[in-house]
Protein backbone atom coordinates (compact mmCIF):
# COMPACT_ATOMS: atom_id res chain seq x y z
CA UNK A 1 0.00 0.00 0.00
CA UNK A 2 2.79 2.37 0.80
CA UNK A 3 4.37 1.73 -2.55
CA UNK A 4 1.17 2.88 -4.18
CA UNK A 5 1.26 6.05 -2.21
CA UNK A 6 4.92 6.76 -2.75
CA UNK A 7 4.51 6.21 -6.44
CA UNK A 8 1.54 8.54 -6.58
CA UNK A 9 3.57 11.19 -4.87
CA UNK A 10 6.60 10.98 -7.07
CA UNK A 11 4.84 10.63 -10.33
CA UNK A 12 2.84 13.69 -9.70
CA UNK A 13 5.95 15.78 -9.66
CA UNK A 14 5.36 17.31 -12.97
CA UNK A 15 6.55 19.94 -15.28
CA UNK A 16 5.59 23.50 -15.43
CA UNK A 17 6.25 23.51 -19.06
CA UNK A 18 3.52 23.72 -21.55
CA UNK A 19 5.81 23.36 -24.49
CA UNK A 20 6.31 19.72 -23.69
CA UNK A 21 2.58 19.33 -24.12
CA UNK A 22 2.53 15.65 -24.85
CA UNK A 23 4.86 14.75 -22.02
CA UNK A 24 2.68 16.87 -19.77
CA UNK A 25 -0.48 15.07 -20.81
CA UNK A 26 0.97 11.63 -20.32
CA UNK A 27 2.70 12.34 -17.03
CA UNK A 28 -0.22 14.20 -15.54
CA UNK A 29 -2.55 11.41 -16.55
CA UNK A 30 -0.32 8.80 -14.95
CA UNK A 31 -0.06 10.97 -11.87
CA UNK A 32 -3.82 11.34 -11.60
CA UNK A 33 -4.38 7.64 -12.02
CA UNK A 34 -1.83 6.82 -9.33
CA UNK A 35 -3.31 9.44 -7.04
CA UNK A 36 -6.70 7.85 -7.54
CA UNK A 37 -5.26 4.39 -7.00
CA UNK A 38 -3.70 5.47 -3.72
CA UNK A 39 -7.05 6.83 -2.54
CA UNK A 40 -8.87 3.67 -3.59
CA UNK A 41 -6.28 1.57 -1.78
CA UNK A 42 -6.94 3.59 1.37
CA UNK A 43 -10.67 3.06 1.02
CA UNK A 44 -10.20 -0.68 0.74
CA UNK A 45 -7.77 -0.96 3.62
CA UNK A 46 -9.54 1.37 6.03
CA UNK A 47 -13.09 0.64 4.91
CA UNK A 48 -14.02 4.29 4.99
CA UNK A 49 -13.52 7.36 2.84
CA UNK A 50 -10.03 8.89 2.91
CA UNK A 51 -11.05 12.08 4.66
CA UNK A 52 -10.01 11.70 8.28
CA UNK A 53 -6.36 12.68 8.49
CA UNK A 54 -4.34 15.54 7.06
CA UNK A 55 -2.54 13.07 4.84
CA UNK A 56 -5.77 11.70 3.37
CA UNK A 57 -7.14 15.21 2.96
CA UNK A 58 -4.11 16.31 0.93
CA UNK A 59 -4.35 13.37 -1.43
CA UNK A 60 -8.06 13.94 -1.98
CA UNK A 61 -7.53 17.67 -2.37
CA UNK A 62 -4.89 17.18 -5.06
CA UNK A 63 -7.04 14.77 -7.01
CA UNK A 64 -10.17 16.92 -6.88
CA UNK A 65 -8.23 19.91 -8.14
CA UNK A 66 -6.80 17.98 -11.06
CA UNK A 67 -10.15 16.42 -11.93
CA UNK A 68 -11.93 19.76 -12.01
CA UNK A 69 -9.12 21.07 -14.14
CA UNK A 70 -9.58 18.23 -16.61
CA UNK A 71 -13.26 19.09 -16.88
CA UNK A 72 -12.39 22.66 -17.66
CA UNK A 73 -9.82 21.68 -20.24
CA UNK A 74 -12.40 19.60 -22.01
CA UNK A 75 -15.29 22.01 -21.61
CA UNK A 76 -13.71 25.39 -22.07
CA UNK A 77 -10.38 24.50 -23.60
CA UNK A 78 -8.41 26.30 -20.93
CA UNK A 79 -4.94 24.91 -20.95
CA UNK A 80 -2.66 27.62 -19.75
CA UNK A 81 -2.89 26.87 -16.06
CA UNK A 82 -1.78 23.28 -16.45
CA UNK A 83 1.70 23.99 -15.22
CA UNK A 84 0.54 25.62 -12.03
CA UNK A 85 -2.08 23.01 -11.37
CA UNK A 86 0.53 20.31 -11.49
CA UNK A 87 2.93 22.34 -9.40
CA UNK A 88 0.36 22.83 -6.67
CA UNK A 89 -0.62 19.17 -6.83
CA UNK A 90 3.01 18.15 -6.55
CA UNK A 91 3.56 20.43 -3.57
CA UNK A 92 0.46 19.15 -1.83
CA UNK A 93 1.52 15.57 -2.30
CA UNK A 94 5.02 16.43 -1.18
CA UNK A 95 3.55 17.85 2.00
CA UNK A 96 1.60 14.63 2.36
CA UNK A 97 4.71 12.55 1.73
CA UNK A 98 6.59 14.31 4.51
CA UNK A 99 3.91 13.03 6.81
CA UNK A 100 4.20 9.39 5.84
CA UNK A 101 6.50 8.36 8.71
CA UNK A 102 4.02 9.73 11.19
CA UNK A 103 1.27 7.93 9.42
CA UNK A 104 2.26 4.29 9.72
CA UNK A 105 -0.24 4.13 12.53
CA UNK A 106 -2.30 6.95 11.17
CA UNK A 107 -4.43 4.95 8.81
CA UNK A 108 -6.01 3.13 11.67
CA UNK A 109 -9.25 3.23 13.58
CA UNK A 110 -10.84 6.62 14.08
CA UNK A 111 -10.82 8.27 17.46
CA UNK A 112 -14.25 8.59 19.07
CA UNK A 113 -14.65 12.27 18.23
CA UNK A 114 -14.33 11.48 14.52
CA UNK A 115 -16.88 8.70 14.54
CA UNK A 116 -19.76 10.52 13.01
CA UNK A 117 -21.67 10.55 9.76
CA UNK A 118 -20.94 14.27 9.58
CA UNK A 119 -17.23 13.63 9.03
CA UNK A 120 -17.78 12.54 5.45
CA UNK A 121 -19.88 15.44 4.21
CA UNK A 122 -18.06 18.11 6.19
CA UNK A 123 -14.63 17.10 4.92
CA UNK A 124 -15.77 16.18 1.42
CA UNK A 125 -17.30 19.60 0.82
CA UNK A 126 -14.12 21.16 2.18
CA UNK A 127 -11.96 19.08 -0.18
CA UNK A 128 -14.07 20.10 -3.17
CA UNK A 129 -14.05 23.74 -2.11
CA UNK A 130 -10.27 23.76 -1.64
CA UNK A 131 -9.72 22.01 -4.97
CA UNK A 132 -11.78 24.67 -6.70
CA UNK A 133 -10.05 27.53 -4.92
CA UNK A 134 -6.65 26.12 -5.80
CA UNK A 135 -7.62 25.88 -9.43
CA UNK A 136 -9.08 29.38 -9.47
CA UNK A 137 -5.85 30.71 -8.01
CA UNK A 138 -3.85 28.87 -10.67
CA UNK A 139 -5.93 30.49 -13.39
CA UNK A 140 -5.59 33.85 -11.69
CA UNK A 141 -1.82 33.52 -11.62
CA UNK A 142 -1.75 32.73 -15.32
CA UNK A 143 -4.00 35.71 -15.92
CA UNK A 144 -1.62 37.99 -14.11
CA UNK A 145 1.30 36.47 -15.97
CA UNK A 146 -0.33 37.62 -19.14
CA UNK A 147 -1.43 34.31 -20.59
CA UNK A 148 -5.04 35.20 -20.90
CA UNK A 149 -7.51 33.04 -22.70
CA UNK A 150 -10.92 34.43 -23.56
CA UNK A 151 -12.98 32.53 -21.06
CA UNK A 152 -10.59 32.70 -18.14
CA UNK A 153 -12.27 35.45 -16.16
CA UNK A 154 -15.67 33.89 -16.26
CA UNK A 155 -14.15 30.52 -15.46
CA UNK A 156 -12.46 31.96 -12.42
CA UNK A 157 -15.72 33.47 -11.28
CA UNK A 158 -17.61 30.23 -11.78
CA UNK A 159 -14.95 28.27 -9.94
CA UNK A 160 -14.94 30.65 -7.02
CA UNK A 161 -18.73 30.70 -6.91
CA UNK A 162 -18.96 26.92 -6.86
CA UNK A 163 -16.17 26.56 -4.33
CA UNK A 164 -17.69 29.25 -2.17
CA UNK A 165 -20.98 27.37 -2.09
CA UNK A 166 -19.11 24.23 -1.09
CA UNK A 167 -17.18 26.12 1.56
CA UNK A 168 -20.38 27.58 2.99
CA UNK A 169 -21.81 24.10 3.17
CA UNK A 170 -18.66 22.76 4.76
CA UNK A 171 -18.61 25.43 7.45
CA UNK A 172 -22.28 24.95 8.27
CA UNK A 173 -21.97 21.16 8.35
CA UNK A 174 -18.94 21.56 10.57
CA UNK A 175 -21.05 23.62 12.94
CA UNK A 176 -23.80 21.02 12.93
CA UNK A 177 -21.29 18.32 13.76
CA UNK A 178 -19.66 20.43 16.46
CA UNK A 179 -23.03 20.92 18.12
CA UNK A 180 -23.50 17.17 18.21
CA UNK A 181 -20.03 16.29 19.37
CA UNK A 182 -19.11 19.10 21.73
CA UNK A 183 -22.30 21.02 22.33
CA UNK A 184 -21.13 24.20 20.64
CA UNK A 185 -21.61 24.96 17.00
CA UNK A 186 -18.92 27.62 17.05
CA UNK A 187 -16.03 27.91 19.44
CA UNK A 188 -13.64 30.35 17.72
CA UNK A 189 -11.22 27.49 17.30
CA UNK A 190 -8.33 28.64 15.02
CA UNK A 191 -9.50 26.50 12.13
CA UNK A 192 -13.07 27.73 12.44
CA UNK A 193 -11.91 31.32 12.67
CA UNK A 194 -9.60 31.09 9.68
CA UNK A 195 -12.21 29.24 7.67
CA UNK A 196 -14.53 32.14 8.33
CA UNK A 197 -11.86 34.60 7.24
CA UNK A 198 -11.42 32.57 4.05
CA UNK A 199 -15.16 32.69 3.53
CA UNK A 200 -15.29 36.43 3.99
CA UNK A 201 -12.45 37.06 1.55
CA UNK A 202 -14.14 35.10 -1.20
CA UNK A 203 -17.47 36.71 -0.34
CA UNK A 204 -15.80 40.06 -0.91
CA UNK A 205 -14.53 38.83 -4.26
CA UNK A 206 -17.99 37.68 -5.29
CA UNK A 207 -19.57 40.96 -4.29
CA UNK A 208 -16.94 43.11 -5.94
CA UNK A 209 -16.81 41.09 -9.12
CA UNK A 210 -19.60 43.00 -10.77
CA UNK A 211 -17.99 46.36 -10.18
CA UNK A 212 -16.15 47.82 -13.08
CA UNK A 213 -12.86 48.62 -11.46
CA UNK A 214 -12.49 45.17 -9.98
CA UNK A 215 -12.25 43.04 -13.03
CA UNK A 216 -8.88 41.90 -14.16
CA UNK A 217 -5.84 42.42 -12.00
CA UNK A 218 -7.44 43.28 -8.65
CA UNK A 219 -9.88 40.40 -8.90
CA UNK A 220 -7.08 37.97 -9.69
CA UNK A 221 -5.04 39.12 -6.75
CA UNK A 222 -8.00 38.66 -4.45
CA UNK A 223 -8.50 35.14 -5.70
CA UNK A 224 -4.86 34.35 -5.06
CA UNK A 225 -4.97 35.93 -1.61
CA UNK A 226 -8.03 33.84 -0.86
CA UNK A 227 -6.14 30.69 -1.72
CA UNK A 228 -3.20 31.70 0.46
CA UNK A 229 -5.66 32.03 3.32
CA UNK A 230 -7.01 28.58 2.42
CA UNK A 231 -3.49 27.20 2.69
CA UNK A 232 -3.03 28.89 6.02
CA UNK A 233 -6.34 27.54 7.25
CA UNK A 234 -5.13 24.08 6.41
CA UNK A 235 -1.40 24.06 7.10
CA UNK A 236 -0.89 26.99 9.40
CA UNK A 237 -3.64 26.08 11.78
CA UNK A 238 -2.67 22.43 11.87
CA UNK A 239 0.97 22.87 12.48
CA UNK A 240 1.32 26.22 14.17
CA UNK A 241 -1.64 26.21 16.50
CA UNK A 242 -3.30 23.72 18.75
CA UNK A 243 -6.98 23.33 19.10
CA UNK A 244 -9.86 21.04 18.40
CA UNK A 245 -8.87 20.69 14.75
CA UNK A 246 -5.19 19.89 15.12
CA UNK A 247 -5.48 16.32 14.08
CA UNK A 248 -6.98 17.10 10.71
Amino acid sequence: MFIYILAAVFNFVDLKKVSAARAYSILSLIGSVLNLAALVAMIIVNRRLPLATGYEFLLSFALVMVVIYRFMVIKDDIRSAGGFVMLIAALLLFAAAIQIPGNYNGSGPLMPALKSPWLGVHVLTAVIAYGGFALAASLAIMNLAGEMEPKTSSSIYNLVAGSFAMLSLSIVLGAVWAEQAWGTYWSWDPKETWAMITWIIYAIYLHLHRRQGWKGKKADILVIVGFIIVLFTFFGVNYLMSGLHSYS
Partner: protein
Amino acid sequence: MLHTGIILVLIGGGINSIYGQTAQIIIKEGDTISVSKLISSKSAFKLKLNKFEIKFNPDGSPAQYYSGINIISEIKPLVKASISVNHPLKYEGVKLYQESFGYLVVTQAENGGKKIGKTIKEGETIKPPGTSRIVRVYKYIPNYNPQYGMETKTLRPDNPRVMFSVYEDKNLLGVGVARLGEPVKIDRDTIVKFKAIKLYSVINAKTDPGLSFTCIGGVMLVVGVFLALFISQLLKPTNMAGEDGSKDILAEDNH
Protein backbone atom coordinates in the same frame (compact mmCIF):
# COMPACT_ATOMS: atom_id res chain seq x y z
CA MET B 1 -32.08 35.17 1.95
CA LEU B 2 -28.47 34.51 2.52
CA HIS B 3 -28.02 37.68 4.46
CA THR B 4 -31.14 37.14 6.54
CA GLY B 5 -29.74 33.73 7.30
CA ILE B 6 -26.55 35.27 8.57
CA ILE B 7 -28.47 37.67 10.76
CA LEU B 8 -30.50 34.83 12.22
CA VAL B 9 -27.37 32.90 13.03
CA LEU B 10 -25.98 35.91 14.81
CA ILE B 11 -29.21 36.42 16.73
CA GLY B 12 -29.24 32.77 17.74
CA GLY B 13 -25.65 33.01 18.84
CA GLY B 14 -26.38 36.14 20.77
CA ILE B 15 -29.31 34.62 22.60
CA ASN B 16 -27.18 31.66 23.46
CA SER B 17 -24.33 33.68 24.84
CA ILE B 18 -26.65 35.56 27.15
CA TYR B 19 -29.14 32.89 28.14
CA GLY B 20 -27.39 29.67 27.31
CA GLN B 21 -25.96 27.73 30.20
CA THR B 22 -23.30 25.15 30.51
CA ALA B 23 -22.19 23.03 33.44
CA GLN B 24 -19.52 20.42 33.74
CA ILE B 25 -20.55 17.33 35.67
CA ILE B 26 -17.71 15.31 37.09
CA ILE B 27 -19.14 12.11 38.40
CA LYS B 28 -17.77 8.76 39.48
CA GLU B 29 -19.41 5.41 39.11
CA GLY B 30 -22.16 4.87 41.61
CA ASP B 31 -22.69 8.55 42.35
CA THR B 32 -25.79 10.60 41.77
CA ILE B 33 -25.71 14.29 41.05
CA SER B 34 -28.58 16.71 40.86
CA VAL B 35 -28.36 18.28 37.43
CA SER B 36 -31.05 20.84 38.08
CA LYS B 37 -28.95 22.37 40.83
CA LEU B 38 -26.28 23.16 38.24
CA ILE B 39 -28.33 24.16 35.25
CA SER B 40 -31.97 25.10 34.76
CA SER B 41 -34.09 22.50 33.06
CA LYS B 42 -37.77 22.10 32.35
CA SER B 43 -38.17 19.87 35.35
CA ALA B 44 -35.87 18.79 38.14
CA PHE B 45 -33.80 15.67 37.61
CA LYS B 46 -30.75 13.84 38.86
CA LEU B 47 -28.14 11.87 37.04
CA LYS B 48 -26.63 8.64 38.28
CA LEU B 49 -23.55 7.18 36.69
CA ASN B 50 -23.89 3.41 36.69
CA LYS B 51 -20.82 2.63 34.69
CA PHE B 52 -18.22 4.43 32.67
CA GLU B 53 -16.67 2.25 30.04
CA ILE B 54 -14.05 2.62 27.38
CA LYS B 55 -14.26 0.28 24.43
CA PHE B 56 -10.89 -0.32 22.84
CA ASN B 57 -9.69 -1.03 19.35
CA PRO B 58 -7.41 -4.03 18.74
CA ASP B 59 -4.41 -1.71 18.86
CA GLY B 60 -5.30 -0.42 22.31
CA SER B 61 -6.57 2.98 21.23
CA PRO B 62 -10.00 4.12 22.37
CA ALA B 63 -12.93 3.26 20.12
CA GLN B 64 -15.60 4.99 22.18
CA TYR B 65 -16.35 6.32 25.65
CA TYR B 66 -19.68 5.31 27.20
CA SER B 67 -21.39 6.68 30.24
CA GLY B 68 -24.20 4.38 31.29
CA ILE B 69 -26.58 6.58 33.22
CA ASN B 70 -29.92 6.69 34.95
CA ILE B 71 -31.97 9.83 34.80
CA ILE B 72 -34.02 10.14 37.93
CA SER B 73 -36.92 12.53 37.86
CA GLU B 74 -39.55 13.21 40.45
CA ILE B 75 -42.33 13.45 37.95
CA LYS B 76 -41.22 11.32 35.02
CA PRO B 77 -40.34 7.65 34.70
CA LEU B 78 -36.75 6.49 35.09
CA VAL B 79 -34.67 6.75 31.96
CA LYS B 80 -31.71 4.50 31.34
CA ALA B 81 -29.37 5.72 28.66
CA SER B 82 -25.86 5.63 27.35
CA ILE B 83 -24.05 8.80 26.43
CA SER B 84 -21.04 8.58 24.16
CA VAL B 85 -19.04 10.97 22.00
CA ASN B 86 -21.15 12.17 19.07
CA HIS B 87 -24.21 10.69 20.77
CA PRO B 88 -25.47 13.18 23.32
CA LEU B 89 -28.68 12.82 25.27
CA LYS B 90 -31.41 15.40 25.29
CA TYR B 91 -33.63 15.59 28.34
CA GLU B 92 -36.02 18.29 29.51
CA GLY B 93 -34.29 20.98 27.52
CA VAL B 94 -30.81 19.99 28.64
CA LYS B 95 -28.32 18.30 26.38
CA LEU B 96 -25.77 15.99 27.95
CA TYR B 97 -22.46 15.38 26.19
CA GLN B 98 -19.67 12.94 26.90
CA GLU B 99 -16.78 15.32 27.27
CA SER B 100 -13.90 13.48 28.89
CA PHE B 101 -12.97 11.23 31.79
CA GLY B 102 -10.35 10.77 34.46
CA TYR B 103 -8.74 8.34 36.83
CA LEU B 104 -9.03 7.91 40.57
CA VAL B 105 -6.57 5.84 42.51
CA VAL B 106 -7.83 3.89 45.50
CA THR B 107 -4.94 4.25 47.90
CA GLN B 108 -4.20 2.67 51.23
CA ALA B 109 -1.50 3.61 53.68
CA GLU B 110 -0.55 1.75 56.84
CA ASN B 111 1.91 2.01 59.63
CA GLY B 112 2.02 -0.64 62.32
CA GLY B 113 -1.62 -1.33 62.96
CA LYS B 114 -2.96 1.96 61.64
CA LYS B 115 -4.53 1.95 58.22
CA ILE B 116 -6.11 4.73 56.24
CA GLY B 117 -7.71 4.65 52.84
CA LYS B 118 -8.33 7.45 50.39
CA THR B 119 -9.49 7.59 46.82
CA ILE B 120 -7.53 10.32 45.15
CA LYS B 121 -7.26 12.04 41.83
CA GLU B 122 -4.02 12.31 39.89
CA GLY B 123 -2.02 15.07 41.45
CA GLU B 124 -3.52 14.75 44.91
CA THR B 125 -1.73 13.57 48.01
CA ILE B 126 -2.20 11.22 50.93
CA LYS B 127 -0.70 11.59 54.38
CA PRO B 128 0.15 8.15 55.72
CA PRO B 129 0.00 7.61 59.49
CA GLY B 130 3.15 7.52 61.57
CA THR B 131 5.33 9.56 59.23
CA SER B 132 5.83 13.14 58.23
CA ARG B 133 6.24 12.12 54.63
CA ILE B 134 3.55 12.73 52.05
CA VAL B 135 2.82 10.68 48.97
CA ARG B 136 1.48 12.25 45.82
CA VAL B 137 -0.21 10.17 43.17
CA TYR B 138 1.43 11.81 40.24
CA LYS B 139 -0.02 9.92 37.32
CA TYR B 140 -1.74 6.71 36.35
CA ILE B 141 -0.15 5.05 33.36
CA PRO B 142 -2.47 2.43 31.82
CA ASN B 143 0.17 0.84 29.65
CA TYR B 144 3.59 1.41 31.08
CA ASN B 145 6.52 0.92 28.79
CA PRO B 146 9.94 2.35 29.68
CA GLN B 147 10.48 3.33 26.05
CA TYR B 148 7.65 5.79 26.40
CA GLY B 149 8.75 7.19 29.73
CA MET B 150 5.85 8.83 31.52
CA GLU B 151 3.52 8.59 28.55
CA THR B 152 1.30 5.58 28.26
CA LYS B 153 1.81 3.35 25.25
CA THR B 154 -1.90 2.74 24.76
CA LEU B 155 -5.02 3.83 26.56
CA ARG B 156 -5.99 0.24 27.15
CA PRO B 157 -4.61 -0.84 30.54
CA ASP B 158 -2.31 -3.59 29.35
CA ASN B 159 0.39 -2.83 31.88
CA PRO B 160 -0.93 -0.48 34.52
CA ARG B 161 1.31 1.45 36.87
CA VAL B 162 0.91 4.29 39.28
CA MET B 163 3.59 6.91 39.22
CA PHE B 164 4.05 8.59 42.59
CA SER B 165 6.31 10.99 44.36
CA VAL B 166 7.32 11.19 48.00
CA TYR B 167 7.89 14.42 49.88
CA GLU B 168 9.25 15.35 53.26
CA ASP B 169 8.81 18.93 54.40
CA LYS B 170 8.16 20.01 50.88
CA ASN B 171 11.34 18.43 49.60
CA LEU B 172 11.01 15.84 46.88
CA LEU B 173 12.60 12.66 48.11
CA GLY B 174 11.98 10.49 45.13
CA VAL B 175 9.74 9.31 42.35
CA GLY B 176 8.61 5.77 41.74
CA VAL B 177 6.41 3.56 39.63
CA ALA B 178 4.34 0.86 41.31
CA ARG B 179 2.04 -1.91 40.17
CA LEU B 180 -1.48 -2.06 41.44
CA GLY B 181 -1.51 -3.68 44.85
CA GLU B 182 2.25 -3.62 45.15
CA PRO B 183 3.37 -2.52 48.62
CA VAL B 184 5.61 0.54 48.51
CA LYS B 185 7.79 1.38 51.46
CA ILE B 186 7.56 5.08 52.10
CA ASP B 187 9.33 5.24 55.41
CA ARG B 188 10.74 2.80 57.95
CA ASP B 189 7.41 1.35 58.96
CA THR B 190 5.05 2.89 56.48
CA ILE B 191 3.67 1.05 53.52
CA VAL B 192 1.50 2.54 50.78
CA LYS B 193 -0.48 0.50 48.31
CA PHE B 194 -2.27 1.70 45.18
CA LYS B 195 -4.98 -0.89 45.25
CA ALA B 196 -7.22 -0.13 42.31
CA ILE B 197 -8.21 2.36 39.66
CA LYS B 198 -11.65 3.90 39.36
CA LEU B 199 -12.88 5.96 36.47
CA TYR B 200 -14.89 9.12 36.57
CA SER B 201 -16.80 10.60 33.69
CA VAL B 202 -16.98 14.25 32.72
CA ILE B 203 -20.33 15.07 31.24
CA ASN B 204 -21.13 18.46 29.86
CA ALA B 205 -24.66 19.73 30.36
CA LYS B 206 -25.83 22.55 28.14
CA THR B 207 -28.88 24.53 27.32
CA ASP B 208 -29.11 26.58 24.19
CA PRO B 209 -32.26 28.64 23.91
CA GLY B 210 -31.12 30.33 20.71
CA LEU B 211 -30.52 27.08 18.86
CA SER B 212 -33.63 27.14 16.69
CA PHE B 213 -32.74 30.59 15.40
CA THR B 214 -29.25 29.45 14.60
CA CYS B 215 -30.45 26.32 12.83
CA ILE B 216 -32.93 28.11 10.65
CA GLY B 217 -30.34 30.78 10.02
CA GLY B 218 -27.80 28.20 8.99
CA VAL B 219 -30.13 26.55 6.55
CA MET B 220 -31.11 29.88 5.06
CA LEU B 221 -27.46 30.78 4.74
CA VAL B 222 -26.61 27.72 2.70
CA VAL B 223 -29.75 27.83 0.59
CA GLY B 224 -29.20 31.54 0.09
CA VAL B 225 -25.68 30.99 -1.19
CA PHE B 226 -26.81 28.41 -3.70
CA LEU B 227 -29.72 30.54 -4.82
CA ALA B 228 -27.68 33.67 -5.20
CA LEU B 229 -24.94 32.06 -7.16
CA PHE B 230 -26.59 29.42 -9.25
CA ILE B 231 -30.30 29.62 -9.69
CA SER B 232 -30.04 32.97 -11.35
CA GLN B 233 -27.48 31.46 -13.62
CA LEU B 234 -29.96 28.81 -14.67
CA LEU B 235 -32.67 31.38 -15.28
CA LYS B 236 -30.48 33.55 -17.46
CA PRO B 237 -29.07 31.42 -20.25
CA THR B 238 -26.55 34.05 -21.36
CA ASN B 239 -22.98 33.55 -20.26
CA MET B 240 -21.66 35.09 -17.08
CA ALA B 241 -18.66 36.78 -18.61
CA GLY B 242 -20.62 39.78 -19.85
CA GLU B 243 -20.39 42.75 -17.52
CA ASP B 244 -24.05 43.64 -17.80
CA GLY B 245 -24.97 40.03 -17.34
CA SER B 246 -23.24 39.63 -14.04
CA LYS B 247 -24.45 42.97 -12.74
CA ASP B 248 -28.07 42.04 -13.31
CA ILE B 249 -27.75 38.58 -11.89
CA LEU B 250 -26.41 39.64 -8.53
CA ALA B 251 -28.76 42.59 -8.35
CA GLU B 252 -31.68 40.20 -8.69
CA ASP B 253 -30.80 38.44 -5.49
CA ASN B 254 -33.57 39.62 -3.17
CA HIS B 255 -32.45 38.36 0.20
